[in-house]
């Protein structure tokens, strides 16, 4: 109240125009600092500014933010430095006489050997061979009295632990005639192997080493791992020919095409249906766990290779040099038309019957020698085989010549190529090993196990890469939306990875593989979900166009009054200093 009167008086003084400098300045000062209207205005402006900052900004921020469900970033970060323990259960069975009696007494129940597999990335891989020792039962003793090793193997009772991923190694007496004298071990087509025993003081250690050697070559070896992991291995471990097998996928399309570029001269018949039933189906039924396979076949006429073969006068034949093979595929592929039908990778197998003018046609390797199979394969694409028509058939006047394709010869090549395409190289064994031929299906059981191991590891590596890059992307680009279902896929993938690791460590290969496949599916689904991109291409200029009509008229008065208040405050402070 008192201030009000003073202000009134001040104004009256000014109007009257008194000339008392001391009083005048004092009154002006009080008028400046004390004017209640001005103070109220100042408070109101400050109130507006606080409201805008405290309420408006958070509200705007909250309502316009891109939705992100919470993700297990910590767990994804840990995936990068994963430790995989592959447990390989090995049951070692000692036959009577393979071990000195002394050692038989102190035979340990289990022995565990670990082997590190070097990798380029932070992921660690350890192979853990868990050897369970026991003496042979009477059935096994009787079976191993057979004359040849194949008979012995057939007579062996199917072991209890004959599950996917496990090994059975029989230690036979050192002098046994089952194996040739210079050979130490035998690797069978099933999950069974035979190892020569030893005598002497260090017998158990020697046998242990031999068993380990066999187990290592039957489980995840470096070359299989190299094929599966590709560029994740250190450079020196990578195979020279850079064989890259097909990526793990939920299904594969296999297309067999018969190319007949010269239907005027050749009328080619192939019994592809029968060949599929008798060769391809049994082979693929072993792969049932890897994914679904669908097969089709077609005959294409006037489908030419992209390269004109060179005439070789010496042998009066035509040759395709190794360096021209890359140019062969592209013109043919335009006519195949098989990739349109499905999202799964397509494997092509082409049987090319060269035109009469260019036959016989042979493929030359880099050294200029003829390739025995007259076939080649292209990683991740498929294989091509050249099938030459018997020149005697041309000794007629009646064209076209009927050609019946020998499907056994063709399918041998195609199945071998299929093995390579799926990443099952021919097993490399030490010199003193006997390697049994594959069973009729064309694949040894332990080779399949190896493939499953490799695929599991590959899947886990793929999931790790996918999830880590997703996390990195989210960190870098703020506009990516993560919906709840995408987040749940990520959680599922992480959980499945942990499941797979646990199952691997427990030695359950099948369930580990399934878990890893589930992880891949979930992580890919999350990574390629279209909802991630919904706001990605929302340009900044559009945002400004929408915000400016609202924000500019609201923010400018607040800013102006703030500046004014600050300026006035500074002025008052100066005036007070002057007064002092």
């Amino acid at each position: 109240m008192a201030e009000g009167i003073m202000a009134e008086r001040g104004r009256m003084d000014r109007v009257r125009g008194d000339r008392h400098p001391e009083r005048d300045r004092n009154q002006a000062l009080t008028a400046l600092t004390m004017d209640p209207e001005k103070i109220r205005g100042k408070h109101a402006a400050l109130c507006f500014a606080t409201m805008a900052v405290m309420l408006g900004l958070p509200l705007w921020w909250k309502t316009t933010e891109t939705y992100r469900a919470s993700l297990p970033y910590a767990q994804i970060g840990q995936l990068d430095s994963l430790l995989l323990r592959l447990r390989v259960p090995v049951s070692v069975v000692f036959i009577q006489g393979s071990l000195p009696i002394v050692d038989q007494q102190k035979l340990p129940f289990t022995v565990v050997n670990e082997r590190d597999v070097p990798l380029k990335c932070k992921m660690k891989l350890k192979c853990r061979f868990q050897q369970a020792y026991r003496m042979a039962g009477s059935h096994e003793e009787r079976a191993l009295k057979m004359d040849t090793i194949q008979e012995a193997e057939a007579a062996l009772p199917s072991p209890k632990e004959d599950t996917v991923g496990s090994l059975n190694i029989f230690v036979i007496p050192e002098k046994s005639s089952l194996l040739p004298q210079d050979k130490m071990s035998y690797v069978g087509p099933k999950r069974t192997a035979f190892v020569r025993g030893a005598q002497g003081r260090q017998a158990l250690t020697v046998i242990g080493q031999r068993v380990l050697q066999v187990a290592q070559s039957m489980s995840l070896t470096d070359d299989v791992l190299a094929a599966a992991l590709g560029d994740r291995l250190p450079e020196d471990k990578r195979s020279d020919d850079k064989r890259r097998p097909l990526k793990a996928s939920l299904g594969y399309e296999i297309t067999f095409s018969l190319l007949n570029p010269d239907p005027k001269s050749h009328e080619v018949h192939w019994d592809i249906e029968g060949a599929m039933e008798s060769f391809v189906q049994p082979f693929l039924s072993l792969f049932g766990a890897l994914g679904n396979f669908s097969m089709d076949s077609q005959i294409l006429y006037y489908a030419m290779l992209g390269v004109t073969p060179r005439f070789d006068a010496a042998s009066s034949s035509y040759t395709l040099a190794a360096h021209s093979l890359p140019h062969v595929i592209n013109p043919v592929e335009a006519r195949l038309g098989s990739s349109a039908a499905s999202l799964n990778p397509v494997i092509n197998f082409l049987l090319y019957v060269p035109e009469r003018a260019h036959s016989p046609l042979y493929i030359q390797d880099k050294d200029g020698a003829r390739v025995a199979t007259n076939a080649f394969h292209s990683p991740r694409w498929g294989g091509i085989m050249v099938y030459n028509v018997d020149p005697k058939a041309y000794n007629t006047t009646k064209f076209p010549v009927k050609v019946n394709v020998d499907m056994v010869q063709v399918m041998e090549v195609f199945l071998a190529q299929m093995r390579l395409l799926f990443g099952i190289p021919y097993p490399q064994m030490p010199a003193n090993f006997v390697l049994a031929g594959p069973p009729s299906e064309g694949l040894r059981s332990w080779e399949l196990d190896r493939l499953l191991w490799a695929r599991t590891v590959e899947n886990l590596a793929t999931v790790t890469t996918t999830l880590t890059s997703l996390a990195e992307l989210l960190d870098k680009i703020g506009n990516i939306v993560i919906k709840d279902d995408v987040a749940s896929e990520v959680y599922r993938a992480v959980d499945a990875v942990h499941d797979a690791i646990v199952e691997l460590a427990a030695g359950n290969l099948n369930s580990a593989f399934h878990a890893s496949r589930e992880a891949v599916t979930s992580s890919e689904k999350a990574f390629f979900d279209p909802s991630l991109l919904h706001l990605l291409y929302f340009p900044d200029d559009q945002k400004f166009a929408i915000y400016i009509p609202l924000f500019l008229p609201m923010a400018v008065p607040i800013f102006l009054s703030m500046i004014k208040i600050i300026l006035e405050n500074q002025k008052i402070r100066k005036d007070i200093e002057k007064v002092d």
Binding site: A45, A545, P553
Partner: protein, 478 residues
Amino acid sequence: MAMAAPLTLHLLLALLLGSSGPSRAEPERDSLREELVLTPLPSGDVSATFQFRTRWDSELQHEGGTNHHFLRYAVLPREVVCTENLTPWKKLLPCSSKAGLSVLLKAERLFHTSYHSQAVHIRPVCRDSHCTSISWELRQTLTVVFDAYTTGQGKKDWSLFRMFSRTITEACPLASQSHVYVDISKNSQDNVTLEVSPPPKSTYQAVVLGVRRTYAVYDLLNPATFSGSRSLNLQLRWKQQQDSGGHLVPFLHAQRYVSGYGLQTGELSTILHNTHPYRAFPVLLLEIVPWYLRLYIHTLTITTKGKENKPSYIHYQPAQDRLRPHLLEMLIQLPANSVTKVSIQFERALLKWTEYTPDPNHGFYVSPSVLSALVPNLVGTKPTNWEESPLFSTMFPISDSSSHFVRLYTEPLLVNLPTPDFSMPYNVICLTCTVVAVCYGSFYNLLTRTFHLEEPKRSRLVRWLANIIRRIRGVPPL
């Protein structure tokens, strides 16, 4: 007449169950027939129809009868046809474009025509009269109409080389039949109006679309066809200037249009012509109208010669928004030599703003209606052996020889829908923001400004005037 016909793909989908039979005899090679029919018209247009038929015996059989629950019908009302449509179509041909009639299929010539129509038909056909086993048939047809009159500087004569810039050198080695037919029906006994060279070895007479036609036949598998020269370059010369002596009008033809004004309602009209001089026949009319045209089924009127024509059968399935279109199927009797108008009113629906196509003011296409009819022939024919007769007459074989089957597609329609102003959301944002800003601004001013009462300063003139008024009122002056 520049018109690109819609690419209609008829896919007869049957339920296939794959099971491989035990029989493994020497499989027969898929039988292939190829055929080119050239029809010169007096106006100078030349229509060329290619047909390729591949037939193979497969163990794929449909289980039991055809289940109509699995019958699907889909139409893309408009597609711009270009080489991208031709390339995959050519890939399906056994001889690709390397040999036989298919060497004539050069994209740059085929798409410079006044009409282009391309089709693929897949269907099961009976192997014998009792239909105990089934073969599969893939029929590929391509029809183009060349305008020889304008491209030939006023001459109506043409040759294969002028049309396709290629000539035929051989038949496809895989084909069991390879023929070229030239329609020479204009030649009567005494009046030779056209001349074909080289002269045909044989002629063929057939009843096509109810009218007797005569064709010159060239068998490409017969080496005599190519004797004299390496290649076959068919040439046709018109002998005398023949004026449009009776245009050939098909017995059944139809038109379709949208009428009405404004953007709320409209009317779909289909006009069916029966030009047969003395026979009436029924027509099955199938209309599939998208849901955003809401049909008023009670306004369906069918009038013939000014009188109401009651359809003998109507099947109507109403549309469901965003799920399923209207389906209207009617059997209408068309009296001889008459015009029938089928009209139905509709209301245009409002779409959600994300449902509009990128160019919404262009309009929305409505699929053509389909007419199926057994049209009576003008001349009687003997029952023919369908397997022996040329492909162009066996697309729809019927046992009754007094009529022929016709399936007609009317033109697709372009309908405008009410289109919103797509900048509206931004306008609304701007307007709201302006209103908010004005309110906020005055409120802000009111709350933060200080107001002083100030003595009004008046000019001398105003004071003088005020004093005069005051003096008159008797109030003391300022």
